[in-house]
């Protein structure tokens, strides 16, 4: 399985994502620079966290207008699976693949924490290895993770079961309906603020992120030795 990790000049979780997916047997991940115009070779495309263009203009706004995003949108329309994490989620809303927007955290501060999340729907490409309603822990680290959209969009997200993750218990950033991650209508594009690539082994504090990659890579492995 070939997997692209898109790299913008200010991406900073690119190597974390790369390590995470490459830790699975049979996965061939590679870095793809933002000027690339063709993503035809890839089965999975990952938009990493970071500050693609230093959050100038708006987080994700400039990245959404780069050559690689045009290619990504075409790939997504063909049904290729796409995950945008943190800044990647912001890029996906900015380019219109996902509805809504991410605004500044309600507390106005950047937050780095390990919140609880509810797996709202395990009937997706990305969550099949979780139990329905399971509460997991995934790290967050963002200043603009407060998800918002209009009422009609929210109703659609709810009725079409496109809310994949919700904050469980404390809502760290003020997100509408406690939303932490959503998919597009077709279900092949996932955007989420939490970082599954930071939750790959118990020494990191949680390994709850592994199953997300196992789900989308459609494989299952015993987790490696915790050390």
């Amino acid at each position: 399985m070939r997997c692209a990790v898109i790299v913008f000049p200010g991406s900073n979780c690119d190597s974390d994502l790369y390590k995470a997916v490459n830790s699975f047997e049979g996965v061939d991940a590679e870095y793809v620079w933002y000027t690339t115009k063709n993503l035809d070779a890839f089965d999975l495309i990952l938009l990493p966290g970071g500050f693609a263009y230093g959050d100038y203009l708006r987080a994700g706004a400039l990245a959404a207008r780069t050559p690689v995003l045009k290619a990504l949108i075409r790939a997504a329309e063909r049904g290729v699976r796409v995950i945008g994490i943190c800044n990647g989620f912001q890029v996906l809303t900015e380019c219109g693949l996902l509805p809504g927007a991410l605004q500044r955290n309600s507390g106005l501060h950047f937050i780095c924490a390990n919140p609880r999340l509810e797996v709202v729907d395990n009937n997706t490409f990305f969550t099949s290895r979780y139990h329905q309603g399971e509460v997991i822990r995934l790290p967050i680290a963002h200043g603009e993770g407060h998800y918002t959209c209009d009422q009609l969009t929210l109703q659609h997200l709810q009725s079409e079961k496109r809310i994949v993750f919700r904050y469980s218990g404390e809502n760290p950033n003020g997100s509408l309906d406690n939303i932490a991650g959503i998919t597009n209508q077709e279900g092949n594009v996932l955007g989420m603020m939490p970082h599954p690539e930071r939750a790959m082994a118990s020494w990191m504090g949680t390994d709850d992120g592994r199953r997300l990659f196992e789900s989308v890579l459609n494989l299952y492995q015993e987790p490696p030795d915790a050390a």
Binding site: P9, G10, N12, D16, F51, C112, A141, R198, M204
Partner: protein, 763 residues
Amino acid sequence: MPPEPSPDQIAEQSTYLQLGLSDSEYSKVVDLLGRRPNMTETGIYGVMWSEHCSYKTSRTELSRFPTTGPCVMQGPGEGAGVVDLGDGWAAVFKVESHNHPSAIEPYQGAATGVGGILRDIFSMGARPVAFLNSLRFGPLKASAGNEVTSAKRNRYLFGRVVSGIADYGNCIGVPTVAGEVGFDRCYSGNPLVNAMCVGIVRHQDLQHGTAAGIGNPVIYVGAPTGRDGIHGATFASVELNEKSESRRPAVQVGDPFLGKLLLETCLEMYRCGAVVSVQDMGAAGLTCSSTEMALKGRVGMELDLDRVPQRAQEMTPYEIMLSESQERMLLVAEAGREEEIFTICRKWGVPACTIGRVVGEPILILKHHQKTVAELPLDKLLESCPVYRREAVKSAEITERQKKPAVSWQSPEDFASLLREMLVLPELASKRWVYRQYDSMVRTCTAVGPGSDAAVVRIEGTPKSLAMSIDGNARYVHLDPLRGGRIAVAEAARNVVCAGARPLALTNGMNFGNPEKPEIFWQFRETVRGMCEACESLGLPVTGGNVSFYNETGGEPVYPTPVIGVIGLVEQHEHVTTQDFKEAGDVILLLGETREEFGGSAYQQYRGGRISGMPPELDLDTERRLQTALLAAIRKGLVKSSHDLSLGGLALALLTSSTDELGIHMDLQTEMKPESAFFSETQSRAIIGVSPDLLAPLEDLMHQNQVLFTRVGVVMPGRFDLALNGRILIEEDLLGLRDLWLNGLERIMNSMVVDNPSHLKAA
């Protein structure tokens, strides 16, 4: 813009005084050159001979530090120190202060402090892997002697400094993994902002700042030069006063996105092999980087200032040379390979151009508009810098303070209330409000993040990790700099040992008042002496650091504040140890001996409202035995949790080891007064959690190393109960106490009330 003064006018109108040269220093420059220097040349001498760049006052004292050891690959002198980690890996690390800029523009001052130390690390060829910081502010609450306006200002400074650090580090993608924050009236108006960065590098990829190769191009990489930060280094070398606000233009503005681009550009450039040497343009910008690189290589440089990228119009040579615009690097490349470098710079969108070349004669030649505007022999610029031996006198005030009794209050009755009051003090409360704003996990190598004695960062592809801590208790130093200096080093090293690491080396940030005052210089000298003793005894070399003098407002100095950054090596992942309790029923042991020592303690400050007496004693043999035995026990797998005792003594250590689930049932057999047992800050102590079945081997090991220990109690779910000799003195629900402690600082910062501390008790 008025024309620049001529060399004669500079002499006659004493313009050199504004440029940072004293009368005698100016005369020395005239003698050295055999003529009167022009404006540009005078400015260059002014910054290169500033305290910040030349260490002219501190140099003789700093030379006492041990700087060599088996693991030291680079001691003081380059951008940062380098220590060997084995297997071809090295760690690069340094601390630097950004106090004065942060006092007048806290957000940018702190952000550029982070950016500056970052560039010091990657200028050595290393990939930065962790940030740490040590901060000091005035009190956040109004009280007698601390006006409401002052408390508000302190909150503003605190909040903005933290934001500045967070925004820069988070954007760069380097985790901020550890730090400390202290509060005291002496820092009102002159906060301290010390930033530390740690990087790792393969031995063969180390870079240096030694220019070489006559005819090689000198290449400027990074942000265009503006008028910001002109004479920042000189500004750092005077006291703050009411006119300091007008120095706002001397504060640089940071751009973390460009900093990130510059970092990636440089690391990629090094890999292409065309870079001969590289140095960050930090303090004194182009002046310092060009002259230092040339002097280290015993060569000269000719620079054409018209080619320096500029973002302001009609900049003079003086301004171009002295600007401290951020995110700039200077490098010497192999002649003929410039295009390889420019290709990489274009990929990352970072401006770069050739601005000069290396020449054989050790001389700095500056051209501007086809004219030579400066011609300075380099040896006469740097090596002739005056060295001052300042007078050092122990002030009568210090002697007086030391003689005052340490205890000036009645023994308390209600220890539970006392504990609740103390653990919401900004000094003692959890710093979660601060570190939640820092991304501590990016790069996914952080094994232990903020909130433990030391942070631990894995070295990828090896079984090893780096442990790191930054620490310094200025109250002890204020009472007695010799002891305080010793304690500062010992405690930072102890933190790293508690995490399961062998301490390797240290970097220091020395924050003091005006060294021209004999009592300040005495503090400095004695602190260095104490630190040296501890370094020698614990086998810790000093690989670099930073001195920040003139930390005074309105003539009032800050406490002498040495900040010690220690890095240590964890040999195996399973040695990594944190301070939190692990399992109900584990036995908690107190290692070390407890005496009634309140001088400079958090308890004394709280109960007495001031500090007096002598700080705790520190016996270096005892300390070394404790550290050796604790590390051995951790490596044998006998220790489940480990926590150094510091501020607030045993009571606070037990609380900060508790988790939401696991607390303590303590019953200590002691002849001491309860307040001493709970709050004394005797040194060379730690609490460890031990599985009951491993107690025997652990106790044997402590006996062998002559480390005293006491059974304190057992880990107990949901409770925080402390008894002495069977009598319960504190009996608290754990979650309630944890809530007060964890959220204490956040409640203060979110509250509009600055002058009524009682709301905190109600919380």
